[in-house]
Symmetry: C2
Subunit: 106 residues, 2 copies
DNA sequence: CACTTGCGAAACCGATTAGTTGCACATATA
DNA sequence: TATATGTGCAACTAATCGGTTTCGCAAGTG
C-alpha cells in the first residue's frame, strides 16, 4: 500500500519513533518500552511508516530491526523549501515593507 | 484552539491551499474555485490553518483575504533538519560503510 | 519435545476527520 | 429598502484513525 509521508509524520508518536530509530535501529518491543502503549500499537505505527518507506525492516532471527530511511523525508523537505527564505528575517523585513506599500495604496 | 502544524499539513488539499496562498493572498471563494469541493469545506480547512497560525486573515469589507504565514513552518523544518545530512549522498555512503561493518561483525 | 519469546494480523471500539447541506449575519448594491 | 454577495457556523454522515484484546505463527530454549 502506498502511503502519504505527510500523513505518516502527522502523528506525534510516529515522529517520536522516527526520532528514536534515526539514532539506532530498534525492535518493536524495544520501541514499545519508550511509550505508554502496547507493542501492537507500536507495530501498527511501524507498518504505516514502512508503507511510506520512512522505515525499513531487517530480519534477525525472530527479531525485526527497524531502520530509519531518510530518503522519503525529502518529499517533506521539498515542500518546505519554497517557504524557507520567507521566514529568514532579512526577507521578512522586505516583505513587510512591500505589504505596507500595498496597504497604503488601497 | 491550539493545533498541530504537522496534522494541518497532513491533508493534501490544505497543502494545495498553502501553495496557492503563498503566491498571493486569496478569499475563500477564490480558493474554492481551484478545488472540487464546496466553499464551506475550504472554509473549514482555512480555520484549521488559522488555528496553527499557518495563515492569517485580512478583512476587506465583506471579503476576507487569507495570507500565508511561514513562521509556523519552522517547526516542520526543525523536525527535518537532523535528517537532512543523512540523505545527502556523501554521508549516505559513509552510513552504508558503517552499516556493512556492523553486519559483518555479527 | 514442550515452553517461551517476538512478532504481525484480525476484530472490535470510541474519537476524529473531511465532507455535505442548511442556516444566520454582515456588507455591498439596485 | 429590498436584494444579492461573501462569509462563518452548526448539524449530520461516512470514512478513517489510534488504540486495545485476542489470536496464530515462526524462532529460539529448556
Amino acid at each position: 500500500m502506498r502511503r502519504d509521508v505527510f500523513q505518516a509524520i502527522a502523528d506525534p508518536t510516529r515522529r517520536a519513533i522516527i526520532g528514536l530509530i534515526a539514532l539506532q535501529a530498534m525492535t518493536p518491543n524495544a520501541l514499545a518500552e519508550h511509550f505508554d502503549t502496547t507493542r501492537q500499537a507500536v507495530s501498527k505505527h511501524l507498518r504505516i511508516l514502512t508503507e511510506c518507506q520512512l522505515v525499513k525492516q531487517e530480519q534477525a532471527g525472530r527479531e525485526i530491526y527497524y531502520h530509519f530511511n531518510p530518503d522519503s523525508m525529502k518529499e517533506v523537505a521539498d515542500f518546505i523549501e519554497p517557504f524557507r527564505r520567507m521566514w529568514e528575517s532579512k526577507f521578512r523585513q522586505l516583505d513587510n515593507v512591500l505589504s505596507n506599500m500595498k496597504k497604503s495604496k488601497k
